[in-house]
Structure formats: C-alpha cells, structure tokens
C-alpha cells in the first residue's frame, strides 16, 4: 500500500521568499525504513512535518500530498495512522504518570477504559515496561522517557511513524536500544519508519532507502549502498555523517561493493591487503607538554546516600593546557567526578587540587569565572534576555563596570566563537549549535583557566563537531585546560590529548588517546575496529586512511 504520494510539492514559510522545499516528488510504501538526511536547515524537518497534517507549518504550499490513497484524510485518521516522535524528551510526555501517558492518545480517540487497559497490557509486554509502568514520568531517565513516548504512539496502532531526530538527547546506549526497537517495529510489524538523524553510523546499515536533502531539494534517493560516491565526497554533510567504512571506501576510491558496517569494512581491508602491510604505524611526534597539572584528584570518595558509593577512590591528573576526556558507561560516576572537580558539589573525602591549590581554599567568586568555567549541558539555562548580546553583557557587568570596555570584550570573544552575526538575535531564534557557541562565549568572557564540559557533542552533527574541536584546540594553545565528559569515542579519539575511563567509581585507565583506544576491544572507534588487524595503533579514520594510502602506493 502507498502511504504517501507527494507530487511537485513546494513550500515557503510566511515572510520568507526562499523556498524551504522545492519540487519534491516522493512515494513512500508501507513497511519501508527510510532515512532522511541533510545538514541542519536543509528542510528535512519541514518535509517530515508535511507528512503529519496536524503539525504542518503555516505557509504557502504548492503541489499535492495524498495520504493512504484517500481523498478524505481527516485529522482523526491522521492521529490514528501516523505517529510522530519529536526529539525533546522532557516536554513530549505531557501527563504525570507512565500509565496516563500511554492512555493519552486513546483517550483522545474516545476509546473506553477496558480497551485501553488491554492495549496497555499488550504494549507493556512488548516493551518490557512492567518495571516502570507504575512510575511517574519525572522519575524516568531520558532514554526511558523516549521509550514511553514511542510506546504511547504505538498504543494507537499506527501504520507509519515519523521520527524527528529522536536520539539527539540520548546517550549511546539508549540510542542503540531505541533504534533497535524501531528497526524491530519496521521489520516485524511492517510499520513504515521515516527518520531523520545526524548520526548515520547505525542507521545506514539498516535502512531501505536514504533520502538526501539539500537546500530544500531531494538530491539523492537510493538504497544505502547506491549513494553515489561523488555525492558523499562533494556534500559536506554526507562526507562527515556516513559510516566510517563507507567513508574509507569513498576516500580510497575503490570500486568494490560499498561496505556499510564494521564487518564489511574489515572484509574490504582484508581484500586490499592480501599480504601483511609493511608499515603499520604512523610516527606522529607528540608535542611534549610541561608536566604542570591543572587538576589533580586523589582518593576521592563520594556518595549521594549511605547505601551506594558513586566514586571509590578516584585519582586523576590532568595536564595544563591539554584536552582531557572522561569516558565510561552510564552511572559510572563521570558526571559526578566532573561536578566534584568543578566544585559544584563539595568534595568531602579525598583531595582535589586546582593548580596545586586545594579547591576548598578558593573563594567562591575567585573559583567560578576566573579559575574555572562550566559549560552547561542545556545551554538554554543561561539565556533569558531579548538578545544574545544583552545576556552576555549582563554576565560581565560585575567584573567590568565600564560599558565601552565591555562591548569591546564582547566583540572580541564573539568573533572568536563566530557568533558576531548572532549577537542581536533572540537566543531562542538561533539553532542549538549556535546557542552552544553563545554559551561558550559567555563562559570565555570571564577568562577561566580550566573549562569543564559535560557531553558537549550530544546532538551535534559531525560537521559542527569539527568546528567545535578546532575552537578547543585554539583554547589549548592559549594555555586553557579543557576537561570533558563524553560518550563519543570517535570525537575523543580524533581530538583529545588524553582519555580516562571511569568504571565502578575508579579510574580504570588513564592514557594518551592512541594507547587508550588501541587497548580497548569494544570501547573504541569504528575505524579502530575495522583496521585493528592490520594497524593496531590506528584509532582515527585519518590515521587508517593515511596508513592505507602509504601501503597501497609502496
């Protein structure tokens, strides 16, 4: 059955001459798994909202969309047949308990309690919600909330579910769980899945079709292995978003079938190197840093309550002017460690020193701003004014009383953060990535010596990650130490200097990044997984690529 048939659709927002969508022609059949991708602002969200009549934005629409081959497609049909999952985990759940959230959609359709009860029983069994069914929404983790939202959509037995970046606020484990469920729904229940994401690593291998959008136009609509390699090269979004194995394939200009996952990537390398490659290591000279430590933690213990210690004798030494990453699974104590090192929670047992001085001996106004700056995870929490400049200005008022001096400083730091154009805009009119840069700008205005970041790359696309990393490198060169908590192995392997793994409240391993990742088997980058047979020490795609090239030429 055909779910959607779009003929020559164009769309533009009111007061905006530029078309958000141009000449879209698209047919979507029942049971397909479709990935829609493109850089932010390309129009992919607008396209998705066209597929859900209730959420279609106001504007000028030319062309026609036919839903389910039917001329009369009412809101009631749409509510029943098309589910729509948004990215915001906090605000999507609107009622107080899991049970009432599940019932919400069916109540709207006017079903009686008996039927709803039956469907709740069914969905709880399918999603294993038994443990959380009696909980309140506010007691759930982000991943659980998103699962409940998905379940509440499935309660209505939809034919299609549209996902608008559903995992951008989730950690990798929760992302994996959600995507696996989505895949299962598509294959086992024949539900059509239309999904946008900025991380395509785990989506491309399982998709039926990949639709690439740029400037409001569909520039490619093929199966994953048929995405033209010229397009991967020329489109800067695709070139950074497709799986590592595909990128290696494209960059090496091979003609063999495109490898979509790690296993196929390994096969590709095996066929390339029938004999053992001669050179297996790159001699990269690491710039030796002074052994001056910005942060030292020794025997730090911490417990939120009597029953369970989160940290059990954590010890870390972070060099001045380096980019340091803390990795580890959920609940291992990463964020707690970061909060302790930045003094947001007081350290009661153990010692934390910043530049050789105990953190307790710093006065509060000396510590925050001047010595350390913490970039919050949700950057919205720093902005409440009419313009970005107003908020930045307010943050500086206390330390720099002179207005002119303040303006000069803002201009200077804003140009470093590349937000000069955004200064007069409203903080909520700019994108998430831009808002993060504005928040970084606010932190940097205070000239801190150590910068703490809690999962800064969550929800960023690869293109933006690169820009972000280069900013951090510049800060490092100025002698500023950057400490980050992250789940993002690829990012850490590419850009950090040192990494530490926290497990069970202790530091299991602290090492230079290449050593760190090449020692791990599961907790490492895709590039390392693909190439470890031949180049055990290569952890980033760049390293693997260079080694391949060297060996292929010789």
């Amino acid at each position: 059955m055909v779910n959607f048939k779009i003929n020559n659709l164009s769309f533009s927002y009111p007061d905006n001459k530029k078309k958000a969508l141009k000449n879209i022609n698209l047919t979507i059949n029942q049971g397909e798994f479709i990935v829609v991708c493109g850089k932010s602002g390309s129009g992919k969200s607008t396209l998705l909202r066209m597929l859900k009549p209730e959420l279609t934005p106001h504007g000028i629409k030319i062309g026609k969309i036919t839903f389910f081959d039917s001329d009369k497609f009412s809101f009631r049909d749409s509510a029943e047949k098309i589910g729509f999952l948004l990215q915001n985990t906090e605000y999507q759940a609107v009622t107080h308990s899991v049970r009432s959230e599940l019932a919400f959609g069916l109540e709207n359709l006017g079903l009686d309690s008996k039927t709803i009860r039956l469907r709740i029983a069914e969905i709880s069994a399918y999603f294993s919600l038994e443990n959380i069914i009696d909980k309140k929404i506010s007691e759930l983790s982000g991943g659980q909330k998103q699962m409940v939202c998905l379940a509440s959509i499935l309660m209505m037995h939809p034919d299609v579910i549209v996902f608008d970046e559903p995992t951008s606020q989730l950690d990798p484990m929760a992302t994996e769980t959600l995507l696996n469920t989505v895949y299962k729904l598509c294959r086992e229940n024949g539900i059509t899945v239309i999904i946008t994401e900025h991380r395509l690593e785990s989506l491309i291998p399982i998709a039926d079709r990949v639709i690439v959008i740029d400037e409001g136009e569909i520039i490619s609509d093929t199966t994953p292995s048929e995405i033209p390699s010229e397009l991967i090269k020329s489109n800067d979004f695709l070139s950074s978003a497709v799986p590592t194995s595909m990128r290696l394939h494209t960059d090496l200009e091979l003609t063999s079938p495109v490898p979509l996952n790690v296993a196929q990537g390994r096969q590709m390398l095996s066929s390339l190197f029938a004999e053992k490659p001669k050179q297996t290591e790159l001699d990269e000279t690491n710039t030796e840093r002074k052994t001056e430590y910005a942060v030292e933690a020794k025997d730090v213990f911490f417990a939120y309550d009597k029953s369970r210690y989160v940290l059990k004798g954590l010890g870390l030494k972070i060099k001045k002017g380096s980019f340091f990453a803390l990795l580890g699974s959920n609940g291992a104590g990463k964020t707690t460690a970061l909060s302790l090192m930045s003094g947001l929670i007081p350290c009661k047992q153990g010692k934390i020193k910043l530049f050789g001085k105990n953190i307790h001996k710093y006065k509060s106004d000396e510590l925050y701003g001047k010595t350390i700056g913490v970039l919050p995870q949700k950057c919205e929490s720093l902005f409440g004014g009419y313009t970005v400049r107003e908020d930045l200005d307010k943050a500086l008022t206390k330390s720099v009383p002179d207005k002119k001096e303040r303006n000069e400083k803002i201009t200077e730091v804003a140009s470093f953060c590349e937000i000069t154009d955004l200064l007069e805009r409203h903080p909520y009119d700019i994108s998430g990535g831009e808002l993060q840069r504005a928040a970084l700008c606010m932190v940097l205005l205070k000239e801190p010596q150590i910068l703490f970041l809690d999962e800064p790359t969550k929800g960023m696309d690869n293109l933006f990650k690169k820009q972000f990393a280069s900013k951090i490198k510049e800060l490092n060169e100025e002698g500023i130490t950057v400490v980050m908590v992250s789940h993002d192995t690829e990012f850490c392997a590419e850009h950090c200097d040192e990494c530490a793994m926290i497990f069970d409240g202790m530091c299991a391993l602290q090492a230079e990044k290449n050593k760190f990742f090449s020692q791990n088997f599961f907790y490492t980058t895709a590039a390392n997984k693909i190439a470890r047979e031949f180049f055990p020490l290569a952890v980033t795609e760049r390293q693997v690529l260079e080694l391949c090239r060297i060996n292929l030429i010789s």
Binding site: L55, A79, Y91, H96, S100, G105, I137, Y368, G373, K378
Partner: protein, 291 residues
Amino acid sequence: MQLGFKSVHPISAFAFFVFAFVLSMTASHPLLLAVSFITGLIYDIKLSGKKAVSFFLKIIMPMICLITFFNGIFSHYGVTVLFKMPSGNNFTLEALVFGFVFSIRTASALLWLNSFNEIITNDKFIFLFGRISPKTALVISMVLRFIPLVRSQSEEIKKAEKGVGNLPTEKDFIGKIRHGARRLSVLISWTLEKGIDSSDSMKARGYGLHGRTSFNSYSFSVKDALFLLFSLIASGIFFFVGTKYKSNYNPVIDIPMPDILATLLITVIAFVLLLPTLYDLREERKWSISK
C-alpha cells in the same frame, strides 16, 4: 498492584475519608472524639510507621498542649473559675476543656489527612475529579507533570549560572534579588519555548478530537461496595448519635451520659473507622502465610 485499603476503589476510599473528616471535625461528644482520634492515630501509624510516631510526638502532642493552653488564657467564658490571671481575667475550666476538645478535633483531622495523602494517590485524585469532566482530569495530570519539571529546570539554571560564575556573592543582597528575577525570566522563556513541543506532541496524538474519554484502571468489586456501604451506614449513625448526644462546653460543661444504645452505636462507628487497619492486617497475614 497494591494490597489492603490502598487497593480499594477510589470512590469507596474517598467516601470513607469524607466520613472520617466530618466526624473528627464536627463531633462534640468526648467518646466520639476519642474514637476518631485513636483510630486515626492507629491507622496513621499502620501506614507510615516511625514517621507517624515522630509526627505524633513532635507535632500533634505539642499542638494539643498549645491550643488547650492558649484557649485557656485568651477565652474567659464559663462559670467554673479556677484562678484569676495577673491581667484580672478569669481562667476557667470551661475554656480549658473546650480548648482541649478543639485541639483533639484538629489533631484527628490532621491524622486522617495524613492517611488520606497516603491512600488517595494522584491517580485516584485524578480519577475522582475526572468524573466531573475528562478535561479536568487531564489538566490536573498535566500540572502534576509540570511541577517537578519546572523545579528541576530551576535547579539546572542555578547550577549553570554558578558554573559560569554569574552568581552574586553571599553579601550582595541587591545582586541576589536581581539574580532571582533573572532566573525567573530564563525559566519562563525556556518553559514557554519548549511548551511548543508539548502542544505538538499532544496534537500529534489526536488531542482536540471530539469525544475524549478519561481512562482509569479501577474496577468496582464486592469489597468496594461493602466499604462504601459501611461508610454510609456509619455516617447515618453518626448523624443520629452526634445530634442526640450533642455536648456543650459553654457556658457550662454538659455532656449527656450515653445509654446502652449509644454505646453500641459508637462501637459500630469505631469498628468502621478501624476497618482499613483491620483489612490491611488481614491482607498482610494472608499474603505472608502464602509466601
């Protein structure tokens, strides 16, 4: 699923509590007061254990003493003068006794309120008021979702501001006020902005279609009918006993002596008030045996 009185249908449980409240607030006869106070205390302790004991010792006891004492000092009605106060006013037995009666009323109402909070959970509350209209039910539920959400966001803003170094110093009062206002404005714009997602999510799931129903997971069984019946009967008895044996404390203390019938009826009331405790105990025994 919960056991005992917690599993009783919201309507029956609610009817029971209405009866308990009305009894504790309007009873004048000492026997009735004693019954409602003691049964209220027993059930509170049954439900909350140590917490209830400490609530009793730290709040209820001092409150009873204080109300009794202050009523004695500030009210001067009554005929039995115990002594003259330095201000020249009479300190009377009647005022003292009425103070005690009033404090016991308040105390038993508080004790029953504690149990009410334990038993009538948010879900039951929503069910009870959702009967007025499905919209009311949804609004209460959304408010209950919203409160913890906004609270956690407010915490997040505070933490973020601290980490960036925007918090005012301890002594800077004007700075603190300014900062509070700022925090509020951030909170409001954040909430309003993200609220759009809530409304999208509601629309996407068909909110606004005609004929919305209100879901509940409660079914009415024999035991629920019995609880309801007992509460109603006890209310009737109380209406009879309460009016017939009305006690007066002003200007003279006049407490009618209960005859056999009244004693019997008050025993029935006491039994009904003890029902939740007995039912809980019975269920606990049943399930611990079968373990």
